[in-house]
Amino acid sequence: MTAPAPLGLIAELTHRCPLQCPYCSNPLALDTVANELPTEAWLRVLDEAAAIGVLQMHFTGGEPMARRDLPTLIRRAADHQMYTNLITSGVTLTDQAMRGLMDAGIDHIQLSFQDIDPASNDRIGAHPNAFTKKHAAAARIREAGLPLTLNFVIHRANCARVPEMIAFAEAEGAQRLEIAHVQYYGWGLRNRAALLPTRAQLDTSTEVVEAARLRLRNKMVIDYVVPDYHASRPKACMGGWAQRFINISPAGKALPCHAAETLPGFNFPSVTTHSLAQIWESEAFTRYRGTDWMPEPCRSCDRREIDWGGCRCQAFALTGDAGVTDPACELSVDHGLMAAAVVESAEEAPAFIYRRFGALQEV
């Protein structure tokens, strides 16, 4: 099945990062700096992206600011009239770096915080003084006249402080606030017992967000992402497999989502050997696109074009088969796996396994 042109391209420029968040969306097997695509390869990807109709470029990582050619890449995307979005931890967003981004034509910056309590923030990211640096970065973004999105990933260690996170975003003049519960793949899945909130914690955070959305209507947009583990229906992961996005890993592997590299039995094409146009219609990208691949209960479900069967990576991570209904769905025969994990969430939280190169050897 062919699809309309992709709307967005997610460029994971590097897996290097000064932070070590235990729920990082990067794969457990991190790409090393020696394997990163060179500048020329990224510039060609940007040219191809514009040519096939990509509208938004998301520069992410790791920490994308670890790449010294970031302004060069942003400038190329801006030259093509693509909307440029930088997703950053902000800890290296100095005045000089900010000027470089502005000169290059950056449109928007999403700045992450790990918590609103500075000590907890610095502990979760395992980076001393990170909160202070991030706070300074928020001021620089605002003073540059850019729209500001603040991102808080929440879990059992910080979700009690959602009211303070919202108040902080208001005070910082954010146009947009993301309150996103951890998604349990890769590092997040590895740390699930330390991170998954109880049902009561989830419900409290949801109530707080819903009340704030009403109060802040027309002032600040709040995007809220809940954990699948307490859901009865899956989310439309990435808006459906290979329907809206192409994700490029630091080494140049093209994926329908950032977690897809974990799926076995795939030959994900590389931008070093394939054009984006070829990639968009490749076997890996078309395998779970649309509804033709669906087994029951998805195939006959009236929500099949709403949630697209949920997340393939979650189906694989929990059941060992990427081609079955996402266990987040209560109609899945595997939905009990979710309930079993929820039981854990009431137990004492173990220590974090921090996301870092070589971390797996320690386990």
Partner: protein
């Protein structure tokens, strides 16, 4: 419920919002912070008149002249439309 009509209000695009034509899709689009809007043909005509100085009244008058339609009808149509665009963050009023 929309706020009462304010004909003197000057609609502006939201911070970080870009309105442009996309030749791949042969359509006008609004690009914003991790958001994308595909305005319908009626909204496109209104959005084309947002320039930082046009008031709601001026936009309505322009459309009324162009489409040879009663000013009251146009005004009654575009005010809720602008409210909807403002609620999405695409436009500020």
């Amino acid at each position: 419920m929309h706020p009462p009509l304010d004909e003197a209000a000057i609609p502006r695009f939201g911070v970080g919002m870009k309105f442009r034509f996309d030749s791949t899709r042969d359509a006008w689009i609004i690009l914003g912070p991790e958001r994308l809007f595909l305005p319908d043909e009626h909204a496109v005509e209104v959005l084309k008149l947002i320039n930082g100085t046009n008031t709601v009244a001026a936009i309505a008058a322009s459309l009324a002249a162009r489409f040879d339609a009663p000013l009251d009808t146009i005004t009654a149509d575009i005010w809720p439309m602008l409210q909807g665009l403002a609620a999405s963050g695409a436009v500020r009023l």
